[in-house]
Amino acid sequence: MCDTCGCSETDDSQNHHNHHHPKKLINLNVSILSENNRLAAINRKSFEEHNILSLNLVSSPGSGKTTILEKTIEALIPSRKIFVIEGDQQTLLDADRIEKAGAPAIQINTGSGCHLDAKMVGNAMQKLNTESGSILFIENVGNLVCPAMFDLGEFKRVVVISVTEGEDKPLKYPYMFKSSHLCLINKSDLLPYVDFDVEKAISYARSINPGLEFIVLSAKSGEGMQLWFDWLLRQG
């Protein structure tokens, strides 16, 4: 055996590595996200087996994800059990807000990472004692780019935009709108004060994803919130 590298050939030449380690070409053709996708599939199966409605909430920073969740928790508990995974680069603030509103929450700090991934969610699920029939909200890091590529195993993806952001958001972040099932257009109470054309935003988003559903609402005034609760109950 060759002493230098441990390969099975004897090293009889003076000059080590005159003998050849065969090079081998391995065709893979695998997605770079394949490991995340594998873990997401495990999460998805586990959500199904435990009868948990899992929803991944994505948006730009400050669109109102946490506020919508607070109001949803206040309205649906105790008739429905709700659990929340909060993703933020830093701080425990959002998880504290959720706990105050009355639902168990786990904060994942991604540090410099700009999105949650399936592994983080799987780990968080080990710590949350979710119950059968509950809703699991996963509030992703505020960012419309990075979370788009990372499947968490959620049943449906909900993208939140607010009327202060401009109706061209769907065109600027097509990947996120393409991969979402429902679009919440939040802060409708501010519509009189901003130039946000709801119809235009919807038509832009539909041009990217014809199957996307929309609900216009205000977490602040409560307008449209019932439509959102109804949508949730329709999911099972």
């Binding site: 065969p22 997605s31 770079i32 700009c114 780019v145 590529m149 990947y175």
Partner: protein, 113 residues
Amino acid sequence: MHEFSLALEVVDLAQREAERNQAETILEISIEVGDLSGVESDAFESALELVVKDSVLHKSIIVITRVAGKGKCIACDLEFEMHQRLDTCPQCRSFPSIISGGEEFRVVSIVVE
């Protein structure tokens, strides 16, 4: 930012494949990045150069091939090259088109020793 985590995914993937094939080193890794994959190819390449240090890929030649986007107009059936997901049909200006290429983001092959 996310190009960085995607580069780390490549390193993990390469590490798993090296172990599976009982390879000491990966001499070359070949990656395809589609123009419509949502990955900024230059940022991804820079991120990859950073993260391969101290990994199984530290000696590898990294070959990144960009794949042009391809679409087929839903109105007139024209097939055309797309640079962005939002490109309209050059013949009839219709939108959207059915994307038939350029969404790749994968490791095509590795050469191990």
